[in-house]
């Protein structure tokens, strides 16, 4: 276990290092921030001054080394726009994105698993087929269009829910979140549903496939031969087996929800990281973009790791061990 952990940490470090080079190079190739930040009337001298102050006059590899040295100390540069440490700007936005992603995840589990279970147990019924048809829609309708339709229906026509923004966060039990208030839930409702639809469709299909496969297994027949109720056979024997792939996929999806909630956050003006990154790209605020991408990679690595650990808890046949030697 310890060897496994060390190995994983080293792999994670390597991925981060490679990523840092790629990100740094990729971002450097995009435009010249001086042209945007400094007023066009500034003299050549003023521009040079600004360039020097921001460290943009150094050769590329030196800029990278400076970046790396600072990064190791937890400093991913200062935002040109906010004039604050980039990481701090991102962390300020992170809770909003996390909140949105977690609520979307909640809908995914709450609706995806039961609907998939139903569709898997009654594949030939009208309800089962309807669920599957619905899941195809969930997959194929573009997220921005669904988002606009949600706003049209529930905000404009019915007026039930607010269409944009996040409610003022409140701190309770040491956790600051907008979800402590009813208003917060009203605000998060439309964007989270928008974000969740594709995930729900995915989980429905995954659950259904898992259930149909598991129902044919000998261990299900044996469980029934023991005289267990259908409820226990499905709730324990089938569910425990299909939870393994579902948890894996959900974990990985949580990573991408956090990282790529860009479209949803833009449509619903949700003040999270996704919206920040779009704004920063427009303004060529390089440190923010670099910090955001590094942070995302870090997060995905972290989530993958958590999924691995969870996997071994769920599946006794998998034990975390040093498979290399």
């Amino acid at each position: 276990m310890t060897v496994y952990l060390i190995r994983r940490l080293m792999q994670a470090g390597l991925v981060l290092a490679v990523m840092s080079v790629l990100v740094f190079l990729g971002v450097f190739a995009v435009g010249d921030p001086i042209e945007i930040l400094i007023s066009p009337e500034a003299t050549q001298f003023e521009k040079e001054e600004a360039r020097r102050a921001l460290g943009l006059d150094l050769p590329l590899w030196q800029q990278y080394l400076v970046f790396l040295e600072n990064a190791v100390q937890g400093d991913l540069g200062r935002s040109f726009v906010f004039n604050m440490p980039a990481i701090q700007v991102i962390l300020m936005r992170f809770p909003a994105t996390l909140e949105l992603a977690l609520v979307a995840m909640l809908w995914t589990v709450l609706f995806g698993v039961p609907l998939g279970l139903w569709a898997g147990l009654k594949p030939n019924s009208v309800s089962g087929k309807t669920i599957m048809a619905g899941s195809i829609l969930g997959f194929s309708l573009p997220s921005f269009w669904v988002g606009l339709m949600l706003i049209m229906t529930f905000a404009v026509m019915l007026g039930w829910l607010p269409s944009t923004g996040r409610a003022e966060p409140v701190t309770m039990f040491g956790i600051t979140s907008s979800l402590w208030t009813a208003k917060g839930w009203a605000h998060v409702m439309l964007p989270s549903v928008n974000l969740a639809l594709g995930q729900i469709a995915l989980v429905i299909r995954l659950t259904r496939a898992g259930v149909r496969e598991a129902m044919l297994m000998d261990y299900v027949k044996f469980a029934r031969a023991k005289g267990l109720t259908q409820r226990r056979v499905i709730g324990v024997h089938v569910m425990k087996n299909i939870m393994i792939p579902i948890v894996t996929v959900l974990g990985l999806e949580l990573g991408s929800l956090i990282a790529f909630a860009v479209v949803t956050e833009s449509i619903f003006a949700w003040p999270g990281m996704g919206k920040l990154i779009i704004d920063s790209i427009n303004l060529l605020d390089r440190p923010i973009v670099v910090a955001y991408l590094m942070m995302t990679v870090f997060l995905v690595i972290l989530i993958n790791f958590a999924v691995d650990v969870l996997y071994s808890v769920l599946d006794p046949r998998v034990r975390l061990k040093d498979s290399g030697s």
Partner: protein, 324 residues
């Protein structure tokens, strides 16, 4: 004496897209209290489906279409799912062929045994656990207390089958359907398991339906034999009668393919050809395509005839010379 199980004209069909598969087509047999019935036949002859029918575990597209399954005098066909459930595992238990697949891989042995106890009796988890431990000890699993905490993959195939047997024995059932429980195991383990199940069943007065494709397994174990071919019983009788003077050419063929001390030095004879598809059976006897004695008369359907007292056969040209 009331029989533990009487199966009459059982028909279990699968309604598939390709057509109706008559996996079990008019099967009758009886198993007396404490008796062992050997259900024999090549793979695909409908043995497992017969076993699942007796358990009420035939899944769609399959269904029992007619016949009766009388368990201690009571017909189970048409009973509610709850009535079946309360019998399953309690009065009628089943052991499956592949021990690697029958235990749930992600649940501990104790979970799987305790739930089996509690499915039929209102006892505390503590009491159920004690029962589980004793059952494991009974089937020869060393240090059962610790093994309860293990997962199936931590057991060998033979040990897993012992666990399955222990589960089947938990409620001292009246009948156990054992569907080729030793086929997937090493020969030495096969022998041990066979001997153990036999003695355990004898101790508790449990009747057994022992399904196998291997006549040599049944020879030392069964009281009666039922030979199945393509969903029908072709010969049945006491184990001595059927093995000493088989009347059906198919039984004869099966016996010829089993090594025997009496015929040492003779080559083993295989039955030529393959089991026919159940979707395209010939008119009349299903075995005619592979039978050395077949002629035009075999194209007519024929019932079971009692050619010897207690020995029945479904054949136009039985080996009557064996009776002489």
């Amino acid at each position: 004496m009331t029989e533990t199980l009487v199966v009459e004209n059982l028909a279990t069909h699968f309604f598939t897209k390709a057509g109706v598969v008559k996996a079990v087509d008019g099967v009758s047999f009886r198993v007396g209290r404490g008796k062992v019935l050997g259900l024999v036949g090549e793979s695909g002859s409908g043995k497992s489906v017969t076993g699942f029918s007796v358990m009420g575990l035939v899944d769609p597209p399959g269904r029992i279409v007619s016949g009766a399954i009388r368990f201690k005098g009571e017909n189970l066909v048409g009973k509610s799912e709850e009535a079946w459930r309360s019998l399953r595992g309690a009065r009628i238990a089943m052991i499956f062929q592949d021990p690697m697949m029958t235990l749930n891989p992600v649940l501990r042995i104790d979970t799987q045994m305790i739930e089996a106890v509690q499915a039929h009796e209102r006892v505390s988890a503590e009491e159920a656990r004690k029962r589980a431990r004793d059952a494991l000890g009974q089937v020869g699993i060393p240090s059962p207390e610790e093994r309860l905490k293990a997962y199936p993959h931590q057991f060998s195939g033979g040990m897993r089958q012992r666990v399955a047997i222990a589960i089947a024995l938990l409620h001292k059932p009246d009948l156990i359907v054992a569907d080729e429980p030793t086929t997937a195991l090493d020969v030495t383990i096969q022998g041990q398991i066979l001997a153990e199940v036999q003695s355990l069943a004898r101790d508790t007065g449990t009747s057994l339906i022992w399904i196998t494709h291997d006549l040599s397994v049944v020879a030392g174990l069964a009281d009666d034999i039922c030979v199945m071919y393509a969903g029908k019983v072709v010969e049945q009788g006491s184990v001595d009668d059927v093995l000493d003077h088989p009347l059906h050419p198919y039984t004869n063929g099966l016996l010829g393919s089993v090594p025997s001390r009496n015929r040492r030095g003779e080559p083993l004879r295989q039955i030529p050809g393959m089991t026919p598809s159940l979707l395209s059976l010939p008119q009349g006897c299903a075995f005619q395509t592979r039978c050395p004695r077949a002629d035009a008369a075999c194209r007519h359907n024929i019932g079971m005839t009692e050619l010897r007292e207690g020995q029945f056969v479904r054949c136009v040209h039985p080996h009557q010379e064996a009776l002489a």
